[in-house]
């Protein structure tokens, strides 16, 4: 059902904090100065796998201005408490049973860039200078960089018991499972296709290099840190330091991008906290740009072997994927790959092994399991479509998931996204039925892909307050990593209270002042915390209707912690992307000449940033498709593509105009029918580009990124 714009929702609304941000008044973490504060820097391992035999910090300690040095010998602080961290929604129980405890500093170092010491000093320059004076001797161990080699017999053991990561019950088994009857599905098939796809590790590469500022008031820790979730960061930090949640206050007012890697705490939060406790003064740990590359997380790289059975009429009867995800030496996040459920085929098997290597640690990056998963399955299905002689759009419409008796959706718009996209893009004219057949060295091609992404509902809290003079205040635990959550939350309150947006103030980014929020991860901030804002605002409106607006110093307060459900129905956002590329088969350049998307993301609460979210995500997806990588020197175990220069992030000049249409609906769930936007745009961008490249050159590119060398080798 189509929607009409409301009074506030659905209207293009500039961010409520736009002025502070663009005039430099917004206080980012490194802008904070506290009296007497010290600055700290982290020393990192220069070897991929070793035991620290000896670490001598005496010269660093003797440097004038140095206040303290920390190593694994002085501080044994669990980080992530040995398991996947990231707050209550992750696996707290596992933290009690894990046998793979990770510490802030580990005597057993497992990757180049792993923290081995930290120095606190009166300024950042002395701290950095002191790092050079720390002497370390390593007993080096054999290392392994490749996921296949890591699980082969005789591979160096990064952890006792082998390099397959533990699940929440300490078992080493693949992620996935079976649906239907795989063997029956393959038996039914007229043809079976097999292909291997690989995707590279890439860094989130957000603009703001990380930092953490800690100070203590008695036995309470106050932590200023760029996090996507103040609630989750508080819980993680309390857990790691052996504190109660109420003993930790996490504050994050502004941040320079998160992209998924900042929900939860980080080891440098713990270093700052420990230094501040030991020294009795505030301490800010700062990461340099290079630190930020080595010592944080990126998208896990994958190897995915697909096997697909198809009937002669083009119906897919069986889908099997076996894969491995490279997690680095510590398990920070799942390692899953997604995408299979966008197909209707009921006979499926998925088995993905999360594998430890001596590379930098993998974590969440915008739709963590999706772009690499969709690249593989969408490339696979695109390939099958061509081999069956079917137009990929027709193949999609035939094989995509549809509502059934047992698979019900709160609403369904996948067919509409594909059809509208194909028409707007002029697919029939742009698509070349004979890939690679265009005349001349510069070949054009068109590709498409389609997706769905869970628009989850779930528990979150909000408080809304009315004061005299018609001022309203919303208290939400959001931190606004880019999508404009502060603005969205304010708009939801204004709409529900039926008051102008300008009468609504927001209190955010502070775990002491704001109730629990899932934080900005999983594109759930609007659907979960936003829903709580609506519920609280409705309650407040009832109170005002009954008792009138408060006068004088009186206030009215409403809070809500709803935990809505979809009653067993799937709630998904849908999308289809179409791209046209030009591939220069002599020089190897790929130019994206057109990019068009159609998304169904429920009601669009604020169209202005929603469009920016789709565009920003597509840009990252094109980067993942064509450019980005963190290549390692496998002889030494050192990363080579650190920083924006080497990792080849796209510049403005690389980015085409990205056209998007939102199909707006209200499925009756979520805040006014809003679904997810933030991650949706990246999911099928790599697949769409890869399929377009195939259409242009007639050679299937199975390994991301699709760089010049691979293209020229392929067409040679």
């Amino acid at each position: 059902m189509a929607v009409d714009p409301m009074k506030t929702l659905g209207q293009d609304t500039p961010r409520v904090d736009a002025y502070e941000r663009v005039t430099g008044r917004a206080t980012y973490n490194r802008d904070i100065k506290l009296p007497g504060m010290l600055y700290a820097r982290v020393l990192r391992s220069t070897v991929p796998h070793a035991m620290v035999r000896r670490i001598d910090t005496s010269k660093a300690e003797a440097l004038p201005g140095v206040r303290a040095v920390m190593t694994h010998e002085t501080h044994k602080i669990p980080y992530g408490s040995g398991s996947i961290s990231g707050g209550r929604q992750y696996s707290d129980p596992h933290k009690d049973i894990t046998t793979r405890l990770r510490y802030t500093f580990n005597e057993h170092v497992r990757y180049v860039g792993e923290p081995v010491a930290a120095v606190a000093a009166v300024n950042r320059h002395i701290a950095e200078e002191a790092l050079q004076l720390i002497e370390i001797e390593y007993d080096e161990l054999p290392f392994v960089m490749d996921v296949e080699e890591a699980v082969a017999a005789g591979a160096p053991e990064i952890w006792e018991g082998g390099n397959i990561a533990h699940d929440s019950e300490n078992r080493q088994q693949p992620i996935g499972g079976q649906t239907g009857d795989l063997q029956a599905g393959f038996s039914e098939a007229d043809q079976i296709f097999e292909e291997r796809f690989t995707t590279a590790f890439i860094q989130d590469a957000q603009l703001e290099p990380r930092s953490s500022l800690a100070h203590w008031e008695g036995d309470k820790l106050i932590l200023h840190t760029p996090t996507q979730g103040v609630s989750n960061c508080r819980h993680d930090t309390a857990r790691d330091l052996g504190l109660e949640d109420h003993q930790v206050q996490v504050v994050c007012k502004y941040m320079g991008g998160g992209f998924g890697d900042k929900n939860g705490n980080y080891y440098f939060d713990l270093i700052a906290a420990a230094f501040a406790r030991d020294l009795g003064v505030p301490v800010m740990v700062e990461l340099s740009r290079k630190d930020d590359w080595l010592g944080t997380h990126g998208r896990w790289h994958t190897v995915q072997d697909y096997r697909v059975g198809v009937k002669d009429d083009g119906t897919v009867t069986a889908i099997e994927v076996n894969g491995k995800s490279g997690m680095g030496p510590y398990l920070r996040r799942s390692g899953n790959v997604s995408g299979m459920d966008v197909y209707a085929c009921e006979n499926t098997s998925k088995a993905i092994l999360p594998v430890h290597t001596n590379r930098m640690v993998s974590g969440n990056f915008r739709a963590p399991a999706y772009p690499q998963g969709y690249f593989a399955i969408s490339s696979m299905m695109d390939d099958v479509a061509y081999k069956m002689g079917v137009d990929p759009v027709q193949f999609a419409l035939k094989n995509m998931v549809r509502p059934t008796e047992t698979k019900q959706f709160t609403n369904y718009a996948l067919d509409q996204c594909i059809a509208m996209g194909a028409e707007q893009f002029d697919w029939q004219r742009r698509w070349n039925p004979n890939p690679g057949s265009a005349e001349g060295p510069i070949k054009r091609g068109a590709g498409m892909s389609f997706m769905m992404f869970n628009a989850r509902l779930g528990a979150s809290s909000a408080i809304v307050r009315a004061a005299s003079g018609g001022r309203y205040t919303v208290y939400v635990g959001v931190t606004d990593i880019g999508p404009g959550a502060k603005t969205t939350m304010s708009m939801l309150a204004a709409e529900t209270l039926d008051v102008p947006l300008s009468s609504v103030d927001i209190v955010w980014g502070d775990s002491d002042r704001c109730p629990y929020s899932v934080g900005e991860s999983g594109s759930r901030c609007t659907t979960m915390t936003g829903f709580a804002v609506v519920e609280a605002a409705r309650d407040l409106k009832r109170q005002i209707d009954e008792r009138g607006l408060p006068t004088g110093d009186d206030v009215l307060i409403a809070s809500a912690t709803p935990a809505p459900s979809t009653n067993g129905k799937l709630r998904e956002g849908f999308g289809a992307h179409f791209a046209e590329v030009e591939v220069d088969t002599q020089l190897g350049d790929v130019r994206v000449t057109k990019y068009l998307t159609v998304h169904e993301s429920g009601r669009i609460l604020n169209p202005l940033p929603a469009l920016d979210q789709i565009r920003g995500a597509v840009i990252q997806g094109i980067g993942q498709a064509l450019k980005e990588d963190v290549l390692y020197d496998t002889n030494t175990g050192h990363p080579l593509m650190t920083g924006y220069y080497f990792a080849r992030h796209l510049t403005h000049l690389d980015v085409p105009e990205i056209e998007n249409t939102f199909i707006e609906t209200d499925d009756g769930y979520g805040p006014y029918g809003a679904k997810t936007v933030g991650e949706s745009g990246i999911i099928i961008a790599p697949a769409t580009i890869a399929n377009a490249v195939y259409n242009a050159i007639g050679v299937r590119m199975k390994d991301l990124p699709i760089t010049r060398d691979k293209i020229l080798e392929a067409v040679a």
Binding site: E128, K627, T636, Y645, F646, T651
Partner: protein, 334 residues
């Protein structure tokens, strides 16, 4: 960042004497033009001068007026002061009128902000952008004794003139300057030298640690371009792994001295594929006295990559370079 002393000389002689005295006192020295790249190296503690660590003294040349600007020479050529910004080089009408490839190369460098600050001498003398050197490996270029790319990741490395180091020369303007037979005017403690490209740039087989012959106390003061006839057409084409702000995966500077439809003589110099600006004489000679056709340009491209010796992961650069030369010759011939 290591603590260093900053000096601001007002003349070339002063700069050189500061360098001589500091080196004599056992302190390491670097000269700073725009400093856009130098300061990155200093921050990361990557040796700018091989084997010398982060510098003790940075000699900031920006106050030396005599090194800034483009001037006409009596012989009809131009002198480009080493401190002239890349933006100023590309905007100079004397440069673009007669030495178009130089102007095009200058405007292809990095980003506008960096071209406004970065200097032509700095661009010619910048250290390699090999990912081993830039990530702190103790390779030849840092003063060590090996090239890690040989058995490692060599996708972006040399297909000509490599060994024992396989870096590619990072300058965009250098191939264009060499195409016009530029002279590199150098000043140091032992006086002044005027060097041809052959004398200025060094192959790793002669000196694996340096890309040119500059001694620690020597400055590239200016670059002289000999007179070029009004019949010379030139252009520069650079292949990059994104649209801007990166070095050449391969580049070609082509200058054609035309007599009507006939090419009297040609210069073709490649960047990004060899440890120095790489002149392809056999290809140049094929153009002399010829009318430039698509077929000839294709043959010239093939000749340009004759003798290429790719490594395990950069074979793609051979056909790429061949086509780059072919297309640049055709584009310049018009």
């Amino acid at each position: 960042m290591k603590t260093f002393t900053n000096r601001n000389p007002e003349s070339v002689g002063h700069a050189v004497s500061i360098a001589r005295d500091a080196i004599g006192g056992g302190r390491s020295v670097v000269f700073a033009g725009g400093g856009t790249d130098l300061l990155q190296l200093v921050k990361e503690r990557i040796p700018n001068r091989p084997g010398s660590g982060a510098p003790d003294v940075i000699i900031n040349l920006k106050g030396i007026a005599e090194m800034n600007g483009v001037s006409r020479r009596n012989d009809g050529g131009l002198a480009i002061g080493g401190l002239t910004s890349l933006s100023a080089v590309s905007a100079n009408t004397d440069v673009s009128a007669r030495y178009n490839a130089v102007a095009e190369a200058a405007v292809s460098v990095a980003t506008l902000q960096m071209r406004n600050v970065g200097t032509i001498a700095g661009n010619v003398c910048q250290r390699p952008w090999c990912w081993y050197y830039r990530n702190g490996f103790d390779c030849f270029k840092a003063g060590g004794n090996q090239c890690y790319s040989v058995s490692g990741e060599n996708q972006l490395h040399a297909i000509f003139g490599g060994g024992p180091s396989f870096i590619v020369h990072p300058s965009d303007v250098a191939p264009a300057l060499v195409a016009f037979d530029a002279i590199f005017r150098v000043a140091g403690s032992n006086g002044e030298r005027r060097l041809s490209a052959d004398e200025f740039f060094v192959l790793p087989r002669d000196d694996a640690r340096h890309e040119n012959v500059l001694a620690d106390d020597e400055v590239l003061v200016s670059i002289e371009l000999p007179a070029a006839s009004g019949n010379v057409r030139s252009g520069f084409r650079k292949l990059m792994d994104r649209a801007t702000w990166t070095h050449a995966v391969g580049s070609a500077a082509v200058a054609l001295d035309m007599d009507g439809d006939t090419c009297r003589s040609a210069s073709i110099v490649l960047g990004g594929v060899a440890p120095i600006p790489w002149r392809v004489e056999a290809a140049e000679q094929m153009l002399a006295g010829q009318t430039i056709t698509a077929e000839l340009a294709e043959a010239v491209g093939r000749a340009a990559v004759e003798g290429a010796q790719p490594l395990a992961k950069n074979r793609y650069k051979v056909p790429m370079t061949q086509r780059l030369v072919e297309r640049t010759v055709l584009a310049v011939a018009g």
